[in-house]
Symmetry: C2
Subunit: 198 residues, 2 copies
């Protein structure tokens, strides 16, 4: 299983946003939507052994589970609609119990720390960092959990939390990438078993 946790610092926590302005008033939800697309889509197929956690303003987490996903389309707007639907049921999310809001999509009332602490038990937490070890120099991890940030840098507390869990600090290349592009490169690294299997 490959997991991706994406922090949406400015993401909405209520469904009162317009699908027409994802990059503006909706707090750069466009970035998070592209992360979902990068994580799941192959040509004409969904990657089933993938889970994505979108952390919305440290308050809610929307989970997409590849093995259960239905009605996911690759465009930003339709993915944002799934997030909005999830937020419409936020009152049902009590404690840390997730609410399934559409097939394969669920909402949990918890922020970054609780989400990371939870998924950290599932595999190796990987911190992507420009000064990290080149991915090509390490054995591709089994069950990796990649932690990424939206258009903003990680905050100090987030970095500390990731470092506390992280088994490895890896670099995907010399250029700083958008989170969704980093997901695509990480998949390619794992698909090719470290750029060896084509």
């Amino acid at each position: 299983m490959r997991q991706f946790v994406v922090i949406g610092h400015d993401a909405p926590t209520t469904p009162d946003f317009s699908l027409d302005d994802l990059a503006g008033a909706a707090g750069r939800l466009d970035v998070l939507c592209r992360c979902v697309t990068s994580a799941f889509f192959l040509s004409h197929a969904i990657r089933e052994a993938v889970r994505v956690q979108l952390v919305l303003a440290d308050e809610y987490t929307v989970t997409f589970d590849g093995s259960e996903l239905r009605r996911l389309n690759p465009d930003e707007r339709s993915t944002a609609a799934l997030v909005r639907n999830a937020l419409e049921e936020r009152e049902e999310a009590i404690g840390h119990v997730p609410v399934e809001t559409s097939p394969g999509v669920s909402l949990t009332r918890r922020g970054f720390e609780a989400t990371l602490d939870d998924v950290a038990g599932d595999g190796s937490v990987v911190q992507l960092h420009e000064d990290g070890e080149p991915v090509v120099d390490v054995e591709p991890p089994t069950d990796p959990v990649f932690v990424l940030s939206d258009h903003r840098d990680f905050e100090a507390g987030e970095t500390d939390r990731i470092a506390a869990h992280a088994d490895e600090r890896l670099s995907l290349g010399p250029e700083p990438l958008h989170a969704d592009h980093a997901i695509t490169v990480a998949h390619n690294y794992l698909d090719t078993e470290g750029f060896e299997r084509y």
Copy 2:
């Protein structure tokens, strides 16, 4: 210079489409918009030595030139608006003379064959193919011209045309990727000089 030619088989050729339905009535313009984003965006920077040609239904080509680009944002909707603006000036595009429709964006009245014939002179045409040689086994090309297709496969005539120009047929990995994801992987391959420089 890295170039990407993307064929939009069902893309609109008039500006009469809604930005609210890019994945539907606008002929999967969402795919082409994500290709533009993947081609140009780094975190907090634009790749200047990149050019993208979106071929719209074999009738018009919209060119994005990284060295001149202004007003490009990473979300699909705003990129689609640039394409729509370009199509609004389609009557001005006479012969094969491009019309600049916003800074770094121009429209030319020509289809795939004429566009490919033109850019083929700029560098090495690379055909991406699942049965191609693994990218990791070849020297990264200088001035590559990657040719990609939207959600549909290449048509027979297109494949023949590409093969006639292609210097290399390369595989990016064992999984079939969306065009925008292929662009991201191609950039990573080139940024790392064949997965060697991190």
